[in-house]
Amino acid sequence: MRFLYEYAHYAGCFALVFIGLYIVLVKHNLIKVIIGIGLIDTGVNLFLVTTGYIRAGTAPVFSRLAEKPEQMVDPVPQALVLTAIVIGVSVLALALSLAIRLYGRYGTLDLRKIKELKW
């Protein structure tokens, strides 16, 4: 029980990751697979930020009002997630452009039908 209480906030991130993984493994429509990749990226970024969380913490920005470094959440995962979000966006943009060209060439987005390359 204590395990669930302490780690409940990680459950959400991993739920997103698993839903995304399930979509990528099982669905055939290319756009759905790309959405699945986006979900996995979102889930992983959320997980990274959550590792830095402190209960009742504040943002790691000093201002003239609040100057207590002990109450601040960890700034490093936030920097990592900045990078990871940009990388995720780049992969999605490239994937969508490939989907546009695939649709133009094959006329369908069903991955089971896009099998020009044989063994």
Partner: protein, 239 residues
């Protein structure tokens, strides 16, 4: 069949993650409350939060981490976005040339005027976000994304307007070169790439924090123009 295998696989992975999370203190929260809180161990978060303002001069600790302590990562990130924009341009390059307007109705007067009115305000907000990146939450990437959303608004609202592709390309290249050159200046004169060679100044002022505002300027322009180029390429209708 495939569904069953995927579910079993995911279950195994979930059990593995659970095992990993429960062994010992995990995350910043665990670090704080757990009995294993060791002061002598290296811990990035605590170190940056305590020493950050004094070492980099930036009040926003995330900015000092992103540009100061981990500047090479940010250079890599900017490069990834550049690769995406270039790759997208390359993949969509060979589509039938010529933009065929296929009879979309032109925007109504209210929409058109509203978008034209909002466009400079959004640009202003985006610029504010990245210029003040070292003082308030924000920074180059966030500001650049807001600027790109202004371009998207113009595409969606005022439908016949187009961006000047050449200008976008030049802005992209020049900002990228500026970033690398600033780093190399640090290498040439002070011994380490991306060294902070401008004066730190006093905290909370606009002109403080060494090279962080300069780099954020370059990043803001680069990200804004790159995302704008991606939107431009994707919005071309081809037949």
């Amino acid at each position: 069949m495939r569904k069953l295998i995927s579910l079993v696989l995911l279950l195994v992975v979930a059990v593995g993650i659970g095992m990993s999370l429960s062994g010992g203190p995990f995350g910043a929260e665990g670090e704080r409350d757990g009995p294993h809180f060791r002061r002598d161990q290296v811990n990035f978060g605590r170190y940056y939060v305590h020493e950050g303002v004094q070492e980099t001069g930036a009040v926003n600790i995330v900015s000092s981490v992103v540009v100061g302590y981990r500047g090479l990562d940010t250079l890599g990130e900017v490069t990834v976005l550049f690769i995406a924009a270039t790759g997208l341009g390359m993949v969509l390059h060979l589509r039938a040339a010529g933009r065929v307007e296929d009879g979309r109705e032109p925007a109504s007067l209210v929409l058109f005027t509203g978008c034209r009115f909002l466009f400079p305000l959004i640009l202003l907000f985006g610029t504010y976000v990245f210029v003040h990146g070292h003082l308030t939450p924000g920074g180059g990437f966030q500001g650049g994304a807001v600027i790109a959303s202004a371009f998207l608004l113009v595409y969606l609202g005022c439908r016949e307007r187009r961006l000047n592709e050449r200008a976008l390309g030049v802005t992209e290249s020049v900002s990228g070169v500026v970033f690398v050159v600033v780093g190399l200046i640090g290498l040439a004169f002070c011994g380490a790439f991306l060294l902070d060679f401008l004066p730190r100044g006093t905290a909370y002022l606009l002109f403080s924090a060494g090279i962080i505002p300069v780099l954020y300027l370059a990043i803001g322009f680069k990200v804004g123009s790159e995302l704008g180029a991606i939107i431009d390429k994707l919005a071309e209708r081809a037949k």
